[in-house]
Symmetry: C2
Subunit: 699 residues, 2 copies
């Protein structure tokens, strides 16, 4: 069985390698002048991305080392004498390290693939698609393989060293915490970087200087393209790595609390087996990723990827479950059957697909909601915003009800274990999901490079087709990421309660209900902080761009060369500075609240922030996506098209949506998961520190 899991991890890594070779096999060709430009610009993006990541990872490294010390000392030894602090902090560091490597690899290939996509787009749409898709697949399969490899290794090591498998799995949970902590930096820091650069570049470039998007005269243009890579690739990757690792950890902890499961290894490792089986399923799916030369086929192909992987996964899960699962076992006095677990898993898997499609409905301009926003833009920016907010709020209905339904179905069929399995089910086709997610920013970058190198128009047209399809899949991917974050958060919540020996959480108690109400505050404050962070960072960027326009001679005629590097540096500094406040909020809240008011109040708080986080994250992401596409819809020529007053109104909506959809919304995923896994890992510390506090206060 171990062989099967390791084998699948190896398969994933080999697949990633093959796709990487495919990308790199495309030479950088053109006239000598073109080649020089290609290398210059893609080199600048690569360099900028590297500069941001090395600055970010320096902080990540310091922070993780410090945090591992906190874990080490806070958890200390268990009553049985086990050095829980040491085990947890090692798992934590392993998780953080693996996540970092995975995101780094994905981004490296993306910054090499962008220029190659541009060049391939000269040949045709299909060729360009292949490069961008392959780059995405490197990320998808590479991350998957590393995650599976890392988790199994730490599981094997700890079950070997620690006699009690439940305790071993509790220590393994540190791995998820590590992944999530890196995701905090990736999503929040990366999100602030990318939108500060984007908004800053737009406000000065488009509005003040009147030069088009992706114009090489704009000093912020490289930072903007770097942002696509650090936010949408590295950030998204770290986020989903976190979901995968955390959902698996939650399932392992809950599963290991049942004696029967512990005694039958395939059942214990079932969560990992599901992820493992996902690798060949996704590999099979990628064989269907072929597009023609017409625009419609690109979006159709990408959307079919999701459907195919879900269908194939359903079949694979059936056979896997027949072999790996027990007929039934008892967990917390509930009898859990094979079918129950399968229902849970499949409800998550298919729920994710429906959420994806619902998200598409509310954010694609093929449907009514976005068209209404475009329509409302005719009476100005105010009505555009009103209809956009309203669309975002309404788009919550289907996904949230689906999540509620999945929770109900999985929980009532397989208890808390079921929730964890639903989370794993939703994320089991992650390799395909990440592939089509990461494909988007590569296409976006390719378009930028085509523009900056002044290539023939047809190239930009082709990359625009790829990019437009990428926008839709990005929206779907975000819906999906939120859904899996909520389920993962809930699964971790369940694991935390299991570990805290809480089996009944009476909502009708002052502590729990007050905790619930207090928890509602966190997503709101977090969103407020991240939105304003983008604002402040964008202002810093605007200052710099204005300064360069003033001081660098000949910048507008193309004779002077803008200092791209300074813009990247400023965005990096601002992003890392601005993420401190929201970061502290996420990390400190559960610990402080738990220590002060106890585990039950903390559980209430987690439930409250999950509830509000769910709706706020969906509303933010979808409103942003809808505004973006309303603008794009007008750019197709309706209501006066580009340059009209209607278009100007829509641009305002798009700018408002940027931080909502790319910073605040996705960052809420981290909030929901990180607070829950922190509670899980620190559960014993919270209990004892709270008891100590009560005693110290004389209660």
């Amino acid at each position: 069985m171990y062989l099967l899991i390791y084998g699948s991890a190896a398969l994933a890594l080999v697949t990633a390698l093959i796709f990487a070779k495919k990308v790199l096999s495309h030479p950088i060709v053109g006239t000598p002048e073109e080649v020089r430009k290609f290398k210059e610009i893609s080199g600048a993006i690569q360099e900028g991305a590297l500069a941001f990541l090395s600055a970010e990872y320096k902080y990540v490294a310091y922070f993780c080392l410090a945090f591992s010390l906190i874990i080490y000392f806070a958890l200390g030894h268990t009553n049985e004498g086990l050095n829980a602090g040491l085990y947890s902090s090692i798992a934590f560091l392993a998780g953080a390290f693996t996540s970092t490597i995975a995101a780094f690899l994905g981004m490296s290939i993306a910054t090499k693939a962008n220029v190659r996509t541009t060049i391939a787009a000269r040949t045709g749409l299909a060729a360009a698609f292949e490069v961008a898709f392959s780059a995405g697949a490197v990320m998808g399969f590479g991350l998957c393989g590393l995650a599976i490899f890392g988790m199994l290794s730490i599981c094997l090591l700890y079950t070997h060293l620690i006699a009690n498998p439940l305790v071993a799995m509790e220590m393994v949970a540190g791995f998820g915490l590590g992944g999530s902590t890196v995701a905090l930096f990736g999503r929040v820091g990366g999100g602030i970087f990318t939108k500060a650069a984007d908004v800053g570049a737009d406000l000065v470039g488009k509005v003040e200087a009147g030069i088009p998007e992706d114009d090489p005269r704009n000093p912020a243009v490289i930072a903007d393209n770097v942002g696509d890579n650090v936010g949408d690739i590295a950030g998204m990757g770290a986020d989903l790595f976190g979901s995968l690792a955390e959902a698996t950890c939650a399932a392992l902890v809950i599963g290991a609390s049942a004696a029967a499961v512990v005694n039958y290894l395939p059942a214990l490792y079932y969560p990992l087996l599901v992820s493992a089986i996902g690798v060949p399923v996704c590999l099979l799916t990628t064989f269907f990723a072929k597009v023609g030369e017409n625009a419609a086929s690109v979006e159709k192909t990408l959307k079919h990827q999701m459907l195919i992987s879900t269908v194939v996964m359903t079949i694979a899960v059936y056979f896997l479950s027949q072999w790996a699962l027990l007929d039934s076992f008892t967990l917390n006095e509930m009898i859990i059957s094979r079918n129950g677990i399968m229902i849970a898993l499949l409800s998550g898997l298919w729920g994710g697909l429906i959420i994806g499609y619902a998200t598409e409905y509310y954010t694609s301009h093929s449907y009514q909601p976005v068209r209404k926003i475009a329509d409302a833009s005719q009476t100005g920016a105010a009505t555009n915003i009103i209809y956009g907010i309203s669309c975002g709020y309404q788009s919550v209905v289907i996904p949230a009800l689906i999540v509620a339904f999945v929770v109900f179905l999985s929980w009532s069929n397989a208890g808390m274990y079921g929730i964890a399995m639903a989370a794993i089910g939703m994320i089991s086709t992650i390799a395909v999901g990440l592939t089509i997610d990461a494909y988007g920013p590569v296409s976006d970058n390719a378009g930028g490079i085509a523009e900056m190198c002044g290539l023939e128009k047809v190239v930009r047209q082709r990359t625009d087709i790829l990019d437009a399809a990428g926008n839709t899949t990005a929206a779907i991917g975000k819906g999906f990421a939120i859904g899996s974050a909520v389920l993962t958060g809930l699964a971790l919540f369940a694991a935390f309660l299991t570990r805290s020996n809480i089996t009944t959480l009476n909502l009708l108690s002052p502590t729990v209900f007050a905790g619930l109400l207090a928890g509602t505050v966190l997503p709101m404050l977090f969103t407020a902080l991240t939105m304003r962070a983008v604002g402040s960072a964008a202002f810093a960027m605007i200052e710099e761009v204005r300064h360069q326009f003033r001081t660098i001679k000949g910048i507008m005629t193309g004779e002077g060369r803008p200092d791209y590097r300074r813009c990247v540096a400023i965005s990096t500094r601002a992003a890392l500075k601005e993420m401190i406040a929201p970061g502290i909020l996420v990390l400190a809240s559960p610990l402080v609240f738990g220590v002060c008011f106890g585990s039950e109040a903390l559980a209430g708080m987690l439930a409250g922030s999950l509830a509000v986080g769910l709706v706020t994250a969906i509303a933010s992401s979808n409103a942003g996506g809808a505004w973006d596409n309303a603008k794009k819809y007008i750019e197709t020529g309706v209501y006066g098209g580009k340059g009209s007053e209607t278009h100007k109104a829509a641009v305002i909506g798009d700018t408002v949506g940027d931080p909502l959809k790319d910073t605040s919304g996705p960052s809420l995923n981290i909030l929901m998961k990180l607070m829950a896994i922190l509670s899980l890992v620190f559960a014993p510390f919270i209990q004892s520190a709270h008891a100590w506090l009560l005693a110290a206060l004389g209660f």
Copy 2:
């Protein structure tokens, strides 16, 4: 004791009468031409308000009659043979009728006071303040008196007719449902009316035709002024009437479930006694309502009203509790002491004050948050919106934490009874609260009349001072109304659980948690519907105004007279049509959900929508208030003042905020309370219908 309560009701009504006489004693004076204009314009507003109200009340009447039949048949007879349906539906009709009368009286006097305020403003600021304040007091005391009178009467009647006092009080709860149903029409319908007229008048008048606000040439100008009366006076009044009635009903039902309380009448009627004692307290407070001739004194005086009434009420509650409350009694196995109840009551009372002040901080342009929005408007509408949303989200923190703290304090000191008492405490100074709330729209109207009659500039300046202070108190009042709505909702939730015999609501169960997640959807969908309703209704208004500008000759030169009445009629029709969808959502959700999934799932749903409703309502109201005042701040001359690009950006924010702060946000109060009291009144029906459904489906 009954005499005390009735006496206080009588005192309130007499006070209202005296204030009314004071308003009407001001004659309509001026040159004959002026008098003609005064009468014409105030007559048009009066007529318009009456037209809307009679149309609305016609629907209210039909609806309430139909709904009383539903109550009658759904509740039917209890197991003991009591005709619960009849009792509940009579109480329901009584509540609806009393609320209607109260709102109607308040609005009648307001539409008479507006022109008198204008005339008084010719003499001086203090004189104008007195008229507007007196008009507010008619509303405040009149509503209070009617509510107390109605509730005591129905209590006495039912405890006389029904042997079991607990059952009697459960029947009385219909009174709260009646009040809340009228509030649904008032808040949602009135809210849509007022903002459709406002947005419509602004978009065509200010933007397209380029005429100033309140210009008599604008056909929608009367509708706009009518809107202030039907939304901010009748709607707000019905909302707070509902809070008072519902909180009292919740306390009565919970209190009556303790035998000791039932046997000591002052303890049973303590909730009503608190409201009764509030009348003299508020009357005393109004003696301090004197302003000088300088602007600052107006806002200070109004804010002091809240502080004074809170302090005096604290003392009054202390003495009342010594007499009326038992030393201690047992409720649901918890011992509840006099001090415990007092702590609960006072936590609500003072919590409301703090929420009010926190709201002021985030919505007044004397402080940082609003100034930052104004500052961000310099880079355009997009940053104005981003900072406004962020300010709204951040403003949630203090009020929500205060509510959480009040819930914790009151619940842990006096059980569920404590929550109801906290809700009553927060609303116990309602007479003063409503006075300063209703004062605002009267001043606003007075300014409009001054403008339309072309009076000397100083008059408008004085009414603007009154209006500006009114904006601040309106924001405070909204924070307050939301806080009391959440506490009332929670108290009703507790009463519902008491009535459904649920003492433990395990959050760790699939039904409850899935219910919680499903409940999060409702406030979002409701907000989306009401926001879009304003949009559609405003578009209808825009069409009409454009049509009149086109077809009525000489309208711009002042020779032709616009058809104000048609605009009022269109806004009325649109408002009543557009409120159907959100109305059905609120009324049907708890019943359908409860019948389909049972009482526990319904309880989860209520908790979820309370959690999300709380934060969404506060964020919506405060963001709207902050945008409004950011615009006003710029109009004082900073960042280029009126007419600058910065100001234009701020106007967009203000327009976005309008439906948020005056329609969607306040309407969420109704959502939170109405769903909870529906569950309470229909609790037995829900249980039996759910059991029947399960049986029919073969479970």
